[in-house]
Subunit: 341 residues, 2 copies
């Protein structure tokens, strides 16, 4: 029951030079072995690794990064961790990074461009190998810092505007448009919209615009709106659905700003005894897993968030230094018919 054992050769910090000394080789040789770089004979490698293991040596990446002027850090600035969408993108990022030794450093902007600027400065101080941001709205200084850094910069979620370097996402305009086309084809004509604050979520607005475009082509418009003043949530979706139905315009389908809101709508209908689809059809956006588990599967659009994170990393690793051409990857979207619309 050896409790609180000290490390083999207890000593606060083991350095390269100690290892080198004990293994009777030069520091650079140990360095090469630790990085699997350059030709090393089997005996030397074994001799050195024995010492490394005995001392429990862990290379100091700070020193390494300074010396080589490259870090294996990837800076990530996301708007929020509350909205399930971003943890899923993060999950994709981690999945893409698995097996490499890059480390993501994550910061949260709270949907503020000014906070993003401070964050980007702070992340850039670590000389990251690449930066990942959400969306295309940045302050001028942020954009300038990123442009002149020369490192790869990926802007995620959207592909409608022109990126600094890499864009990975989907066309929210098309997603909105196709949602409209789909619902029209299903025979719906009396459209309602249930949404949340667009100020923080520009992409929801773009989807709305796409939807309106499809409706306009069919000579239709959105007849009733119910928009909460705040971020999206299931509770808000529920309340806003009640609100929509209480209005004097009767609609046969409600399009929601996203699945959180739409699921709230489903809950309202289930609770209030409103027949889903017959009385009110519901259509969301995102394709969250939970939508599939509802008593009636949610009709929505899958937005491939995991993929967005994963592909961003793949693009970055594929070509770690920036060349001339920008690149845009469309991760697409899929209409999920479900049972609610």
């Amino acid at each position: 029951m050896r409790q609180r054992t000290r490390l083999p050769e207890s000593r606060a910090r083991v350095t390269l030079s100690e290892v080198a000394k004990l293994a009777n080789v030069s520091e650079i040789t140990v360095s090469r072995i630790m990085r699997n770089k350059g030709p090393i004979s089997v005996e030397t490698r074994e001799k050195v690794m024995a010492v490394v293991n005995r001392l429990g040596y862990v290379p100091n990446r700070i020193a390494g990064s300074l010396a080589s002027a490259t870090s294996n850090i990837i800076g990530v600035a996301i708007p929020s961790l509350s909205n399930i969408v971003f943890p899923e993108v993060l999950r994709g990022i981690h999945a893409g990074l698995k097996g490499t030794d890059y480390q993501p450093v994550v910061g949260v902007t709270d949907y503020s461009m000014k906070t993003e600027e401070v964050l980007v400065r702070s992340l850039m101080a670590w000389k990251p190998a690449a930066m990942i941001l959400a969306g295309f709205d940045h302050t001028d200084p942020t954009r300038q810092i990123l442009v002149q850094s020369g490192i790869r910069v990926a802007e995620l979620m959207d592909i409608d505007p022109e990126p600094i370097d890499i864009a990975v996402g989907l066309s929210h305009r098309s997603a909105g448009y196709e949602s409209g086309r789909y619902l029209i084809a299903r025979g719906y004509r009396r459209f309602g919209y249930v949404g949340h604050d667009w100020a923080e979520d520009k992409r929801a607005k773009v989807r709305y615009d796409g939807l309106c475009m499809a409706l306009a082509e069919a000579g239709l418009t959105i007849m009733a709106h119910s928009i909460v003043d705040g971020p999206s949530s299931t509770l808000a979706g529920r309340a806003m659905t009640a609100n929509l139905l209480a209005g004097n315009t009767s609609v046969d389908v409600a399009v929601y700003s996203n699945d959180d809101m739409a699921i709230g709508g489903v809950f309202h209908c289930l609770g209030a005894g409103v027949a889903l689809r017959e009385k009110l059809a519901i259509f969301g956006f995102n394709g969250l897993e939970i939508g599939d588990a509802l008593p009636m599967a949610l009709s929505t659009v899958r937005s491939n968030r995991f993929l967005i994170g994963k592909i961003a990393i793949e693009k970055i690793l594929e070509q770690p230094d920036r060349r001339g051409a920008r690149s845009v990857v469309d991760t697409g979207f899929q209409i999920i018919p479900g049972e609610t619309a």
Copy 2:
């Protein structure tokens, strides 16, 4: 419309010494100004800041960390990003860090102790100011590295075992026990359990044990189990509930391993026309927001995940270097009566 402007004094990398030279002061003076450390006259500060702004100088934290042997990085190793619980802890961590200039570096262990070990090594290479992990199960080397590092180490989610340094969480045993007491007091006697794989989620098992203890005290036992072989999910909860009800043991209440599973149970009942509470009462764990938006609010236990992350950071910042005494913070839990049990 100045497009693609170069930085004021274009030049790939601006260093301290350049700033110092142009401002006609020594490097250390610039360093002190950038770090707000030591006495600096107003004129000097202004003179230097003018140059800093003109050149767009951003201090290189890698060099700074190497020189000062301290970094402002906080290493975070969490099991998963799929389970909503951990992003919420992350959210607490970010909230606690707001306004400081610490940066969290997050890695994912996929519930594997071996992966955690690799991750911890890799994070330690950045000489972080503190480390945050989930749970108490670590490999021996991981524990050793953490113990001898001397930095603050917070183990989150749980407070039942003895921590390396700081523990922040709740007693899952008590949570399970109190859930049982609550349900017994509400008059339920025929208990069923719907759960997921305990191998990855030891805390679910501990809650189960606590529940059994409460039942045993009342001369009761769990009469039927329905356990999915895999992680928790709403879909699994739905399927396992169907499974439970299909068995030949009739139960009047089902306790779930967590809210994801319990919500699946609610969905099954809503879909299959099983009267919630009258025919089958449902009780979860976590207190997810969505439970509150269901047609009938979910009866569950709030586990304060955000708080756990936030308090962990507060403890770390309160006393950044480790002293003798370990500390354990109980963030508690609250029974949420809801309407399903």
